[in-house]
Symmetry: D2
Subunit: 279 residues, 4 copies
Amino acid sequence: MSDPRKPVFLVIGAGAGIGGQAAKRFAAGGYHAVLARRSDEEGLARLVAEIEEAGGSATPMLMNAAEDGAIEDLVEHVERDIGPIETMIYNLGAQIGNRSLADTPHRIFELGWRLACFGLFRLAHAAFPSMVERARRGGRHGTLLVTSATAAMRGNAGQHSHAAAMGGRRMLCQTLNAEFAPKGIHVAHVLVDGAVDSPDTLGKLLGDKYEAFKAKKGPEGVIDPAVLAETYWHLAQQPRNCWSHEIDVRPWTDVPWWNDNPNPEIDSKGKGFAGPEAD
Amino acid sequence: MSDPRKPVFLVIGAGAGIGGQAAKRFAAGGYHAVLARRSDEEGLARLVAEIEEAGGSATPMLMNAAEDGAIEDLVEHVERDIGPIETMIYNLGAQIGNRSLADTPHRIFELGWRLACFGLFRLAHAAFPSMVERARRGGRHGTLLVTSATAAMRGNAGQHSHAAAMGGRRMLCQTLNAEFAPKGIHVAHVLVDGAVDSPDTLGKLLGDKYEAFKAKKGPEGVIDPAVLAETYWHLAQQPRNCWSHEIDVRPWTDVPWWNDNPNPEIDSKGKGFAGPEAD
Amino acid sequence: MSDPRKPVFLVIGAGAGIGGQAAKRFAAGGYHAVLARRSDEEGLARLVAEIEEAGGSATPMLMNAAEDGAIEDLVEHVERDIGPIETMIYNLGAQIGNRSLADTPHRIFELGWRLACFGLFRLAHAAFPSMVERARRGGRHGTLLVTSATAAMRGNAGQHSHAAAMGGRRMLCQTLNAEFAPKGIHVAHVLVDGAVDSPDTLGKLLGDKYEAFKAKKGPEGVIDPAVLAETYWHLAQQPRNCWSHEIDVRPWTDVPWWNDNPNPEIDSKGKGFAGPEAD
Amino acid sequence: MSDPRKPVFLVIGAGAGIGGQAAKRFAAGGYHAVLARRSDEEGLARLVAEIEEAGGSATPMLMNAAEDGAIEDLVEHVERDIGPIETMIYNLGAQIGNRSLADTPHRIFELGWRLACFGLFRLAHAAFPSMVERARRGGRHGTLLVTSATAAMRGNAGQHSHAAAMGGRRMLCQTLNAEFAPKGIHVAHVLVDGAVDSPDTLGKLLGDKYEAFKAKKGPEGVIDPAVLAETYWHLAQQPRNCWSHEIDVRPWTDVPWWNDNPNPEIDSKGKGFAGPEAD
């Protein structure tokens, strides 16, 4: 059961990384956390248990965001049986590693869009009307935090599915903000431009190379999702007169997406020297 | 019948505007133009006739790019029965005017993606392998020109479907370029950041307000698609050592997408004055 | 006198707006604030008094950042007589309202660059070596927070001096970050994309129209610098594994810099409809 | 002597690379070329001789753009003694190779700004009034082509002076376009995002490593300035209804500025995998 006096924080994509840590942070801050993910009932139960042990409250949900009606049913169920949603985080990714165009089947390209772009549209479509109505009636503003990736800013080789989906996600955040910010809904696009220490994604992908990868990155060389959750919390608490719509994060030792390999040899004799006559 | 010595120029979205004018320009430049569009057999026949009267050659094709297999069949048919594709223009749009989120049904949002993003992926997926193979064997490089819109750069209110689809299109152009430029395929994203004098799109949309709209824009206030076709031609003729991947165009009197209404009152006392202390 | 156990927070451009409010926030957080500005000794004394009444400590400094050696002398004096600088905010602006090119004399264009771009370079040049050395020896990382303006992202009419200076400022933040982030210095570019409720800048500029301007903007329609100071605080406290380098802020009712006036009439029939054939 | 019926094409930064090749292209296209550069009177004479041998006409000018009044005197002299300027190319660079902040003295940072940003402002300030007046009286529109570099888009390590100056240059192009495009002056920012085969800049810099560098880049791996000159020509010939304000160019084998090293290992396990939960 959830305390009716608590605002609801809904997580779509509640793995043990960003989604789970955000749930813990908001639960600690007085929200009732609803954690939705596709699989790993045990992992979900573990997160809920940790939140409750810390004195918070949370509800686990299993659902497949790619299924028709799944997101819509979840929103309806939460609003009806748990409480009004104040803040949401859309945290579903669609990274499939690097695949050449030939190795990217139509259904994979489409699935990337369904998870990374269409699902966000469906969530806003289902949840915003009630959130807007509550803000209009003088309630606190609503917030949608969107976890995004480097591929939303530029398309690298092998990222056909991921970049096309994330590029659409970023533009969608801008159209949602343009229509709904003046109605009291804060949409923030969080560009996670570095590796996250997330056992359910990076950990599974790298398997036994995981620890070696982190070691190679050096001290604080991988984003701690519990630290990133503090930035999500800050964004959700910004008063209406000072909202951030786009922010990036990366470890101190990572090269930002806009810097190519800052190789002096290349840069002073190639790119950097392009074009103008030194005269 | 097409002259086997002519390179093939394939247009997806061959209306009387950009697509049709590009077909005329490339036909005049020695290409055999293949004009594909969904409807208006008469309009297509008219374009082909105009090209032939000018001494060029062209083939009309009716096809619905949103249908499974349509783009794939078209590419196979052209390569088998007409000739090897050297240059293509993907010119399908998905503008549906401005619609609030509530007025944007799921199927409309998906259709926008199918036409503006997925179709481009399918075209590259179907046509690039043969184009790469020909370039590898020492043939001239292949080219994919992509007509894009303002919504690829920023999402405005009411543009949920269009911006999400076009944002994905731009990132896809970057991933395609990253994988295929070094293999001899030139992908150029052409940001059309202004109204185009196109009877089949703007004309139909505005109906009897069309002439008034153009009059209001003033002399040369709307892009002439025949003029824009010269820029497409220039891009397709760039040698490999100097390729443009992103370019914008707009009429001289239009405000570019990155400038908001340059109102001195607002700008000197609002935005422009944001932030720093004048001290 | 400053408590040697307190880290130093240096403000360049300590007016009653962003700079002064940031000083209060960091003083409340345990820093000794050094407030530097060009003029208004009384205003400075008032800020210091408010900080001390709140139990904090601060030092006022008068200096003209445009003068040769002024920034260098300030840094040397603070490091020698007050304490090691841990965090700095560069908050000097160079907004001169809207001026046509003809009304922008060479000296004005140069002054804009001296205040908005060259001064930041000089501050980093003077302060970073000691900050890097302390970080290398295991101290907490150093931070440089840079207040920036809309003009850093796009140049509007009448903004020749301001935009050229701010565009340089943003690129400089990226080059500083590229060299110094891996050495433990966090540089954050804060894009203030809206009007700030700042008596010393906007207030002076608008004079008796100030209250009317704020009224027109509506509730929470102008950025409260004390609220923005919380975002500066959050950025300065981010651990090294999760640094933000670029973030924007604006009031909920403001149109972001990337959206032009979202006028459906214009957008569905002009820009939004540009380019692709609807077929 | 120049033929009074010929429009004037003024090159600021007329080395043997982009500037010289652009002068040849416009001279061949019927313009009288005025070639200005700081030094190498012999090189200038050689370029003029080549233009005249090809049947064109040109005037050599030696001038130091960093000197007060130099650009202003040049514009006045050309307009008075040679003919009305129709098209200009600002081609001065300020690349100094890669230098750490400590190795970038104040005067070097300032010189970069004087050449790359302030000089462009001065050229527009001096030449635009007459160009606007001629366009207003129904003459052909005027054009300012600005050669720019990768550093205008993002600041890499070691590029403090170059990136701050080029970032300012790009924003200045936008403010100039915002004020002057509606008055008939076309300003185009040409992002040269790759190495140019330019003996006076890259050649001098690399010395005896120049041929090895080009060999390593492979066939058509370095921009041929004569080819780039065709793109400048195309931009200058665009009718007013279809102007490009920003365009990029690079060799087919170069990685664009927005792609970091597309290393699958890094990208699928680091950046690309950032953020969202796969589940």
